[in-house]
C-alpha cells in the first residue's frame, strides 16, 4: 500500500486519575472503524463496562475526528464526541454529539486522530495539546468561568490560533443538559457534564503540523473541485428559494436564499449576495444565510457575514450585529450560531409583541446565544424550549413550584415575549437553582420522572415533537415518511441524521427527485412528495439503511451530515445528479486505502452495528423492537382528522409502520421479532467477538 494519508496515525489517551498521557497507533487499532463515532463506539465497547453511569470516573469520553478532518475536502469540520449519554432515559446508553468549528482540523494538525479521556482529576484541570506537547494543567482559576472567558484565557496561554473546547458553568455543575463548545459557537450537546464530572474544564489544541494527502495532488485538486461543484446551500438544498435568472426551479423552503437585493448589510460597506449561479464556485458562501432563513428578511440588515467550520464554504453560522439589542441588554453586539443555537432564546416564547420574526424575536436570539453559549446549556434539539412552553401553559410549573419560587420569575414578562426573562431563567438552569431550574437541566425523561408526569403525556402531543428516551424527533415523518420514522427509532438520543431529509428537502420537483431516487435506491417509489405519502415498500427501507450508514460514515470520516450526502446537485447539465461515491473517492485518495462506495458503506455498517450491539449490551435486552425502537403516538394521529396516505398529512398508519420495521430489519439482516442483529450479521461485518460477547449474555436473537 502507498504511504498512508488522511490519518495522523496517533490517538491520544489521557487518564485524568493517574495523569498518564499515552498514544496509540490509529491504523493498527482503529482503522476498521475509521475515526469519529467509529473510534468512540469501539472504545466504549472495549473499555466501558455495562452498568457504568455517565458521571462515573470509569465512563470515557472520546473526541474523535476522521481521516478527512483538516483536509480541503469540503465540509470536514466536525468532531464526534462519544460517551454514555446523561440525558438518555430511563438508562444512560451510548450516544454522540457533534461539533463543528476549528477543533477537528486543529487536533489533526497537532498530530492526533482522536483524544480518549478517562478517569477523573482530583481538582479542576484543562488539557493542553500543543503538537507533541500534551499536559494536564491546573484549571482552578477557570472553574466557575463561562466558556467565553475560559477560551480567551487558554488562548492567551497557548496562542490566538488555538481551538479551545470548553464547558461552561452548566457542565461544571453536572447539568445533563450541557454542552462542550469550541470556536465561539460550535457545540456538542449533552456531554458538558461528563467533562464536568471528570473535573475537565477544557481542551485547548494548537497544531502546526499537516495532514498528508496520499494520492496525486493534481487528482486531489480535481476531486475537491468536483465535490465543490456538487454543493448546494446549507442542508444541501440545491435550488434557490426565489426565481433566479439561471434557475430552472425554485422552492420557497430552500436555504439557498441569496438573491439580487439581499445584502449582508452590517458589513461595512454592505455586500450584495447576488444571483449565485451554481457554477460560480467563488460565490458558494453567499448562498446561505441562516439568520435570514430563520428570522426572515429583517435579519439581512444585521448580517455581518457567514461563518462556520474549517474548510467549509457553506458558512451556516451566520454572524449578526445588533447594536441596539446590545445596548438594551448589556450584551455583545455580535452574535453567531445556526439552527438550534441561533433560536435558543427565541424558542422559549410562545409569542412576541411583533410576531415570530420581528425585532423582539431577534433580540431573544441575541440574548439566548449570549447566555446559553457562555453558560454552556444544551437545547436537546429544541426539546428544552418545547418542554418549557408545555410546562408553563399546561400549569405544571405553577403546580410544582412553591409560591416564593414561582413569584421569583416575571411571568408577565414571559407571556409578553420579553427577552429579558431569559436572564432569570437560563442562569438558574446552569446553576441548578430552584425546582424549575433543576428540573429543566435534567433533560426531558428525567424531568418528567422527577415531576411525576407520565412519558405518555409527551409522546402523544404532536406539538412537543418528543420521540422517546428523553429526546425529540430529528427529521422524521415530516420530512421522509416511513424512512424518517425508521431512522428516528435507531438512536439513544435524537437521531441527528440528515441523509434522508437533505434529499427530500433539496427543493427539486418530485419528478426529478424520483428519477434520482430510482438510480440511488432502485426505484422511484423510494420517496414520496412530503405529506403525500404512499404505502411502505422495500426501497424506502433501503433508503433508510443508506441514510443511517452515511450518517455514521460522515461522523467517522469527519464529513458534515448536515450537508451530505451529495447525491443531488444544482447542476442542470448533470440532470441534477450528485455523486453517491464522493465520500469513497475522497477517502481513497486522501488515505491511500482504496475503497469503492459499497466497500466503504460496509465499514459504516460495521460502525452502525457496533452502536446497535452496545445499545443491546447496555440495555441488557435483545427486545429492541418493543423496548428501544419505539414510535410516539403523535406520529399516528392527525389533529385535523385526515387519514394516513391522504395529501396534506404527515401522519402514519400503525400497521404500515409495523411493516416498515419488518422490512427494515430484513434489509439490515436483523431478526424481525426482536430487532436484534443476528450472529451471522455481526460475523459478516467483522464483529464476531461482539457476537460472542452478546451470545454469552443471551442477547442474540
Amino acid at each position: 500500500m502507498t504511504k498512508i494519508g488522511g490519518w495522523t496515525g496517533k490517538v491520544l489517551r489521557i487518564d485524568l486519575s493517574t495523569g498518564r498521557i499515552s498514544t496509540e497507533d490509529t491504523i493498527e487499532k482503529y482503522k476498521d472503524y475509521l475515526g469519529g463515532t467509529g473510534i468512540g463506539y469501539k472504545v466504549i465497547w472495549d473499555e466501558v463496562p455495562t452498568g457504568t453511569m455517565p458521571f462515573d470516573p470509569t465512563n470515557k469520553i472520546i473526541f474523535g475526528v476522521g481521516p478527512l478532518a483538516g483536509t480541503g475536502a469540503p465540509c470536514n469540520g466536525r468532531t464526534a464526541v462519544t460517551t454514555l449519554w446523561p440525558t438518555c432515559w430511563p438508562k444512560p446508553l451510548v450516544a454522540s454529539g457533534h461539533m463543528g468549528g476549528q477543533f477537528a482540523a486543529e487536533l489533526k494538525y497537532a498530530g492526533y486522530d482522536a483524544t480518549i479521556i478517562e478517569g477523573k482529576a482530583d481538582h479542576p484541570v484543562w488539557l493542553s495539546i500543543e503538537d507533541g506537547q500534551v499536559g494536564i494543567r491546573d484549571a482552578r482559576h477557570l472553574w466557575g468561568q463561562g466558556i467565553r472567558r475560559t477560551t480567551v484565557e487558554i488562548s492567551q496561554e497557548i496562542g490566538a490560533e488555538a481551538a479551545v473546547a470548553a464547558i461552561g458553568q452548566a457542565g461544571e455543575n453536572l447539568i445533563p443538559m450541557s454542552v462542550v463548545m469550541n470556536s465561539f459557537s460550535h457545540s456538542a450537546g449533552g456531554v458538558g457534564a461528563v467533562l464536568g464530572s471528570k473535573n475537565l474544564k477544557a481542551i485547548g489544541v494548537r497544531g502546526t503540523g499537516s495532514v498528508r494527502i496520499s494520492g496525486n495532488k493534481e487528482e486531489w485538486e480535481k476531486l475537491v473541485k468536483f465535490h465543490l461543484s456538487l454543493l448546494g446551500a446549507n442542508n444541501q438544498h440545491v435550488v434557490p428559494n426565489t426565481p433566479q435568472p439561471w434557475a430552472e426551479y425554485y422552492n420557497t423552503s430552500s436555504r439557498w436564499i441569496a438573491s439580487r437585493g439581499r445584502r449582508w448589510e452590517a458589513s461595512s460597506p454592505a455586500i450584495e449576495t447576488g444571483t449565485c449561479e451554481p457554477h460560480r464556485l467563488n460565490r458558494i458562501s453567499y448562498r446561505t444565510n441562516n439568520a435570514a432563513f430563520y428570522l426572515g428578511d429583517g435579519a439581512w440588515k444585521y448580517t455581518v457575514r457567514g461563518n462556520g467550520c474549517t474548510g467549509c464554504p457553506i458558512r451556516c453560522h451566520t454572524m449578526i450585529k445588533v447594536p441596539q439589542t446590545a445596548a438594551k441588554y448589556g450584551i455583545p453586539e455580535v452574535g453567531q450560531n445556526t439552527c438550534g443555537g441561533l433560536n435558543f432564546g427565541r424558542a422559549f416564547f410562545k409569542t412576541f409583541p411583533d410576531g415570530p420574526r420581528g425585532e423582539t424575536a431577534i433580540e431573544a436570539c441575541m440574548v439566548g446565544m449570549h447566555l446559553a453559549d457562555d453558560l454552556g446549556i444544551w437545547c436537546n434539539y429544541g426539546q428544552l424550549q418545547r418542554d418549557f412552553i408545555k410546562l408553563y401553559y399546561g400549569g405544571m410549573i405553577k403546580k410544582k413550584l412553591d409560591e416564593k419560587e414561582f413569584k421569583s420569575y416575571s411571568w408577565d414578562k414571559y407571556e409578553k415575549g420579553d427577552p429579558s426573562f431569559l436572564f432569570q431563567l437560563l442562569p438558574r438552569i446552569a446553576f441548578k437553582e430552584g425546582e424549575l431550574g433543576t428540573a429543566l437541566g435534567l433533560g426531558t425523561g428525567y424531568m418528567l420522572e422527577q415531576w411525576g408526569i407520565p412519558e405518555q403525556e409527551w409522546t402523544k402531543d404532536y406539538n412537543l415533537l418528543y420521540w422517546k428516551m428523553g429526546h425529540p424527533k430529528h427529521h422524521s415523518n415530516e420530512d421522509a415518511g416511513q424512512c424518517g420514522v425508521i431512522i428516528n427509532t435507531q438512536y439513544n438520543r435524537d437521531a441527528q441524521c440528515h441523509s434522508h431529509s437533505n434529499f427530500t428537502r433539496n427543493g427539486l420537483p418530485i419528478g426529478v427527485q424520483k428519477r434520482l431516487a430510482a438510480e440511488i435506491w432502485g426505484s422511484p417509489d423510494a420517496i414520496d412528495a412530503v405529506s403525500a405519502y404512499s404505502l411502505m415498500n422495500i426501497h424506502k427501507a433501503k433508503m433508510a439503511k443508506w441514510s443511517l450508514l452515511r450518517k455514521e460514515l460522515h461522523d467517522s470520516l469527519s464529513l458534515c451530515n448536515w450537508m451530505g450526502p451529495w447525491v443531488a446537485s444544482p447542476l442542470k447539465e448533470r440532470g441534477y445528479r450528485g455523486d453517491d461515491s464522493i465520500e469513497s473517492l475522497l477517502y481513497s485518495l486522501a488515505t491511500g486505502d482504496k475503497k469503492n462506495h459499497q466497500e466503504l458503506d460496509q465499514v459504516a455498517e460495521r460502525i452502525f452495528l457496533l452502536h446497535r450491539a452496545l445499545t443491546i449490551r447496555d440495555m441488557g435486552t435483545k427486545e429492541m423492537r418493543t423496548q428501544h425502537d419505539t414510535i410516539p403516538e403523535w406520529v399516528f394521529k392527525d389533529v385535523s382528522g385526515k387519514t394516513p396516505f391522504t395529501k396534506g398529512t404527515i401522519h402514519m398508519d400503525k400497521e404500515d409502520i409495523e411493516m416498515a420495521m419488518d422490512i427494515y430489519y430484513e434489509v439490515m439482516g436483523w431478526d424481525k421479532k426482536t430487532g436484534a442483529p443476528s450472529a451471522a450479521t455481526y460475523h459478516n461485518f467483522g464483529l464476531g467477538k461482539a457476537a460472542e460477547e452478546l451470545s454469552k449474555r443471551g442477547l442474540l436473537p
Binding site: 483538516g70 483536509t71 480541503g72 476549528q102 482540523a105 489533526k108 494538525y109 467565553r148 477560551t151 480567551v152 488562548s155 492567551q156 496562542g159 490566538a160 490560533e161 488555538a162 470556536s183 465561539f184 502546526t208 503540523g209 499537516s210 495532514v211 498528508r212 494527502i213 496525486n216 495532488k217 493534481e218 486531489w220 485538486e221 475537491v224 465543490l228 458589513s267 461595512s268 460597506p269 455586500i271 464556485l281 467563488n282 460565490r283 458558494i284 458562501s285 453567499y286 455581518v304 457575514r305 457567514g306 461563518n307 462556520g308 467550520c309 474549517t310 474548510g311 467549509c312 464554504p313 458558512r315 454572524m319 450585529k321 455583545p332 453586539e333 455580535v334 453567531q336
Partner: protein
C-alpha cells in the same frame, strides 16, 4: 584582533539584540559568521574587491499580487488548504503562503484584544495576510545568505529555490509582514510564488474575497506585523552600496 573576530563579536551582539542567538547551535553560529547586520555594519565593501560573483539583488517588479478584501472573507481557510494541498500534497495551514488562521479568532492584534478586537471573537473582520511581492529592495531575498529567493517568470514572483535554501530561516526575520513559511518536512523555506500566475488561493475562495491583480506597491500601505530583524550578508551590503552611494 582580526577583522573576522571583530565581525563575530559584532554579530554576536546583534544576535543578542534580536534574541536569536539562544536557539542557534554553535555550528549554526559558525555558519552565520559570514554575515553582518544591516545598519550597524561599518565594514565596507568586503566582497567588492574579492572578484567573486556579485550577489543577487532583485530589481525586477512582480507582475501580479494577490489582494484580499477583508470584509468579504468568511474565515473558511479554503485558501490556506488549497495553497498547500494543491501545491505540496498536504493540508498545512502553518506553511500556507496566505495566512488567515493567525488572525481568525482575535484579529491581527491577537488574543489580548479580547472581544473588542477583530476576527470571530471580535467584530467579525478577518484579515487574510498575503505576500506583497515587494519591489526592490526585497527584504526576504536580501536577507537570504544563499541567494535562494529569486525572481521567477512569468509572474516575476519572488520564490524560494529549494535547491539553494538551507533552511536557516533568516528570511523569516526579514519580512515585516511575517509572510515567509517553512516546510518542516523538507526543512526549507517557502513563500508565495503566485502559483506561476494562477493563484490557487484566489481560485479556492468561495466568497470572492481574494483577487489576483496587476502588481501594485502595497509595502507602504499595509502596516507591518513585526519589526524586521534582518541580517544581510556583507557581500550584499556591499552590492547595495554600489548604487546607494551617499
Amino acid at each position: 584582533m582580526s577583522q573576522q573576530s571583530e565581525r563575530d563579536g559584532m554579530l554576536e551582539k546583534a544576535l543578542n539584540l534580536v534574541g536569536l542567538n539562544r536557539s542557534f547551535s554553535r555550528r549554526d553560529f559558525i555558519k552565520l559568521s559570514g554575515v553582518t547586520v544591516i545598519g550597524i555594519s561599518a565594514l565596507g565593501a568586503l566582497g567588492a574587491k574579492s572578484g567573486k560573483k556579485m550577489p543577487l539583488i532583485i530589481m525586477d517588479k512582480a507582475e501580479g499580487v494577490v489582494i484580499a478584501d477583508f470584509t468579504k472573507c468568511v474565515g473558511c481557510r479554503r485558501c490556506e488548504l488549497a495553497c498547500t494541498e494543491f501545491n505540496d500534497g498536504k493540508a498545512s495551514p502553518t506553511m500556507a503562503r496566505i495566512k488567515v488562521n493567525r488572525n481568525l479568532n482575535f484579529g491581527p492584534k491577537g488574543v489580548y484584544a479580547g472581544q473588542h478586537g477583530q476576527g470571530n471573537w471580535g467584530n467579525g473582520l478577518i484579515t487574510p495576510d498575503f505576500c506583497k511581492q515587494c519591489p526592490h529592495p526585497v527584504p526576504c531575498a536580501n536577507a537570504c545568505p544563499n541567494d535562494a529567493i529569486v525572481v521567477q517568470p512569468p509572474a516575476n514572483a519572488r520564490v524560494v529555490d529549494p535547491k539553494k535554501c538551507t533552511g536557516c530561516k533568516m528570511c523569516q526575520k526579514a519580512c515585516p509582514w511575517e509572510m515567509m513559511s517553512f516546510d518542516s518536512d523538507t526543512n526549507k523555506a517557502t513563500k508565495c510564488f503566485l502559483c506561476n500566475g494562477k493563484p490557487k488561493c484566489v481560485e479556492a475562495c468561495p466568497a470572492e474575497a481574494l483577487n489576483y491583480l496587476a502588481w501594485r506597491d502595497l509595502t507602504e500601505k499595509v502596516p507591518p506585523r513585526v519589526v524586521p530583524t534582518a541580517l544581510v550578508s556583507p557581500e550584499k551590503a556591499a552590492a547595495c552600496k554600489q548604487c546607494h552611494k551617499k
